[in-house]
Amino acid sequence: MLTNQEVAEGLLEKFGDQVFNFEEPYGLLTLSTTREEIIPVMEFLKDHKNYQVIFLTDITGIQYPDNAGQEFVVVYHMHSFVHNFRIRIKVAIPEADIHIPTATGLFASANWMERETYDFFGILFDGHPNLKRILNIEEMDYFPMRKEYPMEDATREDKIDALFGR
């Protein structure tokens, strides 16, 4: 049984200050890294014989418009079946330079997950074999999950946000 502590120490030893912000929300080891190190970190976790985190569960994006210089976060969930160990890795990237290397070289499943993330947030995965929209129409010229596109018409006056939810 692999503990969060063990993996965190292993990563710190290998990557030093390139991995940071260690947390354990609801028991799931969460850490951040830089976009230069994300692929090496995933490769390290995948190939290390003590960890064998061979399964990529999910890739998704989040936008924090108020975090200047770190507006977008790409989140990777990984899973080791051998040790029943899950890990979440985050990479913050700026809106001005919205690039991150692709994980398709490590996991075939990353292909559509990254396309979906691109489709909704406009995050560009460098080296992706076929980075185009997947769920939305190809003629769409904006990225709908970004916070600047509110769900409802902002000029409506018959619904008061202060009273009815967000």
């Binding site: 609801y26 569960t57 969930h77 079946f81 967000r166």
Partner: protein
């Protein structure tokens, strides 16, 4: 003698023939072809009857659930989840409730957990009977499909008894179930436990050792365990390839650790193995249903969390606190703590994950669904490459791609 004009003798010699071009046919499979089991398109390049390559186009029923969820209070998101995998909507509903309960730190009583397990396993049975019997239809055996549909109908009647709806169930509430199991529901479940095995056995007799069915499915659309893992397969499709990963066993939720059941696995990852794994899973689900109904604990069916769980209606009329809570819950004014949760349940098709980020507001800051169909469907061109069109239909059918889950 009249001149007889002979036919011109100008048949070109072999060297003069235009060169034969090996041209591939492009075939649009879908988006509305009945054999696609939903609205999605495959653009196949065919060399005669063989598939050379394929490309999928999806998104025809994309409804932007993740965006809609960012404006909705938590309890209103339940209705979005059951429109994903509509063949087993209770699993989606209850998985979502468990995610929010994890965020809020609500402990659900044992009785509610057992009722949830019961409903989720019944949902798994309906999911798998559809998949397996439709596989029969695609190989040419229509009888079994209509026959087991009757049993699905009985499960839907149980749903009706438990939550009032049939297909889009909106089952359960944050903190438990909306009502206790009625005596009718218990009677119907017990009847189902008795009446389902003979039907399933007959479906097995129809297909399992059927020469035609075996010839059509064995070694059709195989995928190795390694490729399946790389492609993010989960659920029955991964287990058919020989990897014994089941969320219910590995990360038990809702008291699954109390139940005894086996996880069937296959060997070759082909269509026949996927069929057999689903078939055996129905027996295991039935075992769990039986255990849950026989050992149903006494006690409340909802958690003691008045700020999240709607109070009984007569309390609302007589009690001030209950009235306030009722109003706040219905208007979506409960404030959730800030935090991020990933919760996974074993859905009909595999690991159904909910990644929820709350910033302390009344709606999620970000909600992402890990939909198993979406992730494993990308392997489809690789799996049907080189096979004939009719085999490719079977491969798709046995993958159990649900369009609602694919597009979310």
């Amino acid at each position: 003698m009249a001149d007889i004009e002979l036919l011109p003798h100008n048949v070109p010699s072999h060297s003069e023939l235009p060169e034969l071009v090996e041209e591939l046919t492009t075939l649009n499979l879908g988006p509305t072809h009945p054999a696609t089991h939903g609205i999605f398109q495959n653009i196949l390049k065919m060399d005669g009857e063989k598939i050379v390559s394929g490309e999928q186009t999806i998104g025809y029923i994309h409804r932007a659930f993740e965006k809609i969820a960012e404006r909705r209070p938590f309890y209103q998101i339940t209705t979005l989840t059951d429109r994903m995998n509509y063949c087993s909507s209770p699993i989606n509903n209850l998985g979502w409730h468990m995610t929010v309960e994890k965020l809020l730190g609500v402990e659900v009583p044992k009785r509610a957990q057992y009722i949830r397990v019961l409903m989720m396993e019944l949902a798994r049975i309906t999911d798998h009977i559809i998949c397996n019997s439709i596989l029969g239809v695609d190989t040419g055996a229509f009888t079994g499909f209509l026959y087991v549909m009757q049993k699905r109908e009985e499960v839907y009647e149980i749903y009706e008894e438990v939550c009032g709806a049939r297909l889009t169930t909106n089952m359960g509430r944050l903190g438990g179930m909306e009502r206790d199991l009625s005596s009718t529901a218990i009677r119907k479940i017990k009847e189902f436990i008795k009446s389902f095995p003979p039907v399933l056995r007959e479906l097995e007799k129809l297909l399992n050792r059927n020469r035609i069915f075996m010839d059509r499915t064995i070694n059709v659309g195989p995928i190795s365990a390694e490729r399946a893992l790389s492609y993010g397969f989960t659920g029955p499709n991964l287990r058919a390839a020989g990897v014994d990963y089941d969320v219910r066993v590995m990360n038990p939720y809702s008291s699954y650790e109390d139940f005894e059941f086996d996880v069937p696995i296959g060997q070759n990852g082909d269509t026949y193995d996927r069929y057999m794994v689903r078939n055996e899973e129905m027996w295991q689900s039935l075992r769990i249903v039986e255990q849950a109904i026989n050992n149903l604990p006494e006690g409340p069916y909802y958690a003691d969390a008045p700020e999240y769980y709607l109070p009984p209606k007569d309390e609302v009329y007589r009690n001030m606190e209950a009235l306030i809570y009722h109003f706040k819950i219905v208007m979506g004014e409960i404030d959730a703590p800030a935090g991020e949760v990933y919760h996974a349940v074993e859905g009909g098709n595999g690991e159904l994950g909910f990644y929820l980020i709350s910033d302390g507001g009344r709606a999620p800051y970000r909600l992402h669904f890990r939909r198993p169909s979406f992730i494993y469907y990308q392997a489809y061109p690789e799996m049907c490459k080189g096979s004939s069109l009719s085999d490719a239909i079977l491969t798709m059918s046995s993958l159990n791609v649900i369009a609602g889950e694919l597009d979310a």
